[in-house]
Assembly symmetry: C2
Homo-oligomer: 116 residues x 2
Amino acid sequence: MSGPDAIAKQFVDFYYNQFDNDRSQLASLYRESSMLSWESSPFQGSTAIVEKLTTLPFQKVLHKVSTIDAQPSSPTVASLLVDDSEHPLQFSQVFQLIPDGGSYYVLNDIFRLIYG
Amino acid sequence: MSGPDAIAKQFVDFYYNQFDNDRSQLASLYRESSMLSWESSPFQGSTAIVEKLTTLPFQKVLHKVSTIDAQPSSPTVASLLVDDSEHPLQFSQVFQLIPDGGSYYVLNDIFRLIYG
């Protein structure tokens, strides 16, 4: 992977595909220092984050990504903004990715529903 | 300022107040390494960013902030997500702030309109 746009595209494809198929597998993307803000509720660490994600009140979900904005930050960090326009819920989600042995993990994850 | 929530609140109040009163004064918040993504268009450096902000096709604007999500990142960084529900335009904006001599500057700024 090279460049923030390519990293963003590959990460987003992987993340939401994994989310829609088996959310428990997302644990590998987080570390103990990772933080999730889910509709203003804070969760820290891979275990707490994945517990939140796997206990969301729905079984089947399909994400459709409409737009991705990515920027490099420090030389080692990429931030993403994803807008999802799938009916009926719109959301905006921001990830901050940290390089880790040739791959990336999620340090910051902010999720917010958008009410039209 | 202390804690990401307090930093976020203070920054957001200052930023949008300045934006609504005199956008050219926002130059002090950016550095040459700063990046703005405005509806997918990239701008780098304080001069280019402020030129973009000051030539937006409107004269009067009033931001009304509805929600702020903040997370600390590395010990030196805060990220913010702002949702603005003011009629008629909704947007989501992400700032990454870097400490600089007791204050902060904007390293990353991603702006995206939300279409309901």
